[in-house]
């Protein structure tokens, strides 16, 4: 807190400071999204691929990594799946 702030109204009843905080968060988010070159169909495709994989193996959400690399000439789509232990795998198959 700077010297100045001591002479300002308290944060609670200071709606301008609330406005500033909300804007900072929102704008940081929107700027990041503006730079995100992921294709628009990506989230849907991700869900669908995940569905297909789960027909065979029981994997967690965080065991599957989707990444898009942007190069000068082409975009590279990378998919990596960490498979569960073999035993877990068998159990998973029995269940489905």
């Amino acid at each position: 807190m700077g010297l100045w702030d001591m002479f300002r109204p308290r944060a609670q009843d200071n709606s301008a400071s609330v406005a500033k905080e909300r804007l900072q968060i929102l704008i940081a988010h929107e700027r990041a999204r503006g730079q995100d070159k992921t294709p628009h169909y990506f989230p849907e495709m991700r869900e669908e691929i995940l569905g297909v994989i789960r027909k065979y193996v029981d994997v967690d959400d965080d065991a599957v990594r989707f990444e898009v690399d942007h190069n000068e000439q082409y975009d590279l789509f990378e998919l990596s799946i960490t498979l569960p232990d073999r035993q877990d795998d068998r159990r998973a198959k029995k269940n489905t």
Partner: protein
């Protein structure tokens, strides 16, 4: 080479047309041959604010479609030397403005020896606004101390840096300036309104000026006389400062402290 200056904001009603009128008049008064173009096709208003509405014969779309020459469409301002207004079309649809057409007009103006071409952008981030900023060398982003205006300005800054001709050709980027308008220091003092520092911190663009909320702006629009011509008005003086800064002069910011309160009285007199 002519300097193409776009006045833009994203959000509507923040003061773009008021600013275009004031800044173009100020540049002309500083001896720069200046044209100000209304890009708000369908919602022409710059002519009214500039006080030339009764002399409009042709508009920018007539020029693009070859129905009038540029010189026929340009209206010379009676009170301010070196100042010319190119009105928007009131009737034709927005698609009548083309990138090539606008490019040709700007090139002709440059060849006619204009120093500054001020483009008054329509609101929004769609075609009309993008066309107004496409050829810009400099941009004034008009922003009110209010959340939605700040957010829209940030989006417009993103568009300026990615969708302009300069960006497409990998040239040096558009020079961006933040102009805060309708600023009410009293309300900033009580914590109700975003401050100049807050807005600068969020948008991170060099500050060209701060125009106070002022009755003089309404009076100026009633009279059809750009507010900068009112030398006694706070808003007029603030615009004059902004023009001087645009031309490279250093001037201290005025009208950013609450009225009648000195630094010391604010420090000790609050409660």
């Amino acid at each position: 080479m002519a300097n193409v200056l776009v006045v833009t904001s994203g959000k509507g009603g923040v003061g773009k047309t008021t600013t275009s009128a004031a800044i173009s008049s100020g540049l002309a008064m500083a001896g720069k041959k200046t044209a100000v173009i209304d890009f708000d096709v369908g919602l022409r208003n710059l002519d009214l604010i500039m006080g030339v509405e009764r002399r409009v014969v042709y508009d920018i779309v007539n020029v693009i479609q070859g129905e009038a020459s540029l010189n026929q469409a340009l209206i010379r301002h009676k009170e301010v030397d070196n100042l010319y207004v190119l009105p928007a079309s009131q009737t034709k649809d927005k698609d009548a403005l083309t990138t090539e057409g606008v490019g040709e007009i700007l090139e002709s103006l440059a060849n006619e020896g204009f120093d500054y071409i001020v483009c008054d952008s329509p609101a929004g981030i769609e075609r009309g606004a993008q066309l107004a900023m496409y050829y810009a060398d400099e941009a004034i982003v008009v922003t009110n101390p209010e959340v939605s205006s700040v957010r829209d300005s940030d989006r417009m800054l993103g568009i300026l840096s990615s969708k302009s001709k300069r960006a497409e050709n990998n040239e040096s980027p558009i020079r961006e300036h933040l102009l805060i308008t309708r600023y009410a220091p009293d309300r900033v003092g009580t914590g109700e309104m975003l401050s100049v520092e807050d807005m600068q911190e969020i948008l991170a663009v060099p500050l060209l000026g701060v125009i106070p909320e002022s009755n003089a702006v309404l009076q100026a629009s009633n009279a059809g006389r750009p507010v900068i011509l009112d030398k006694n008005a706070d808003a007029g003086q603030a615009y004059a400062d902004a023009v001087a800064r645009l031309l490279g002069e250093e001037r201290e910011m005025r009208f950013i402290d609450a009225k009648g309160k000195s630094f010391l009285s604010r420090l000790f007199g609050r409660s």
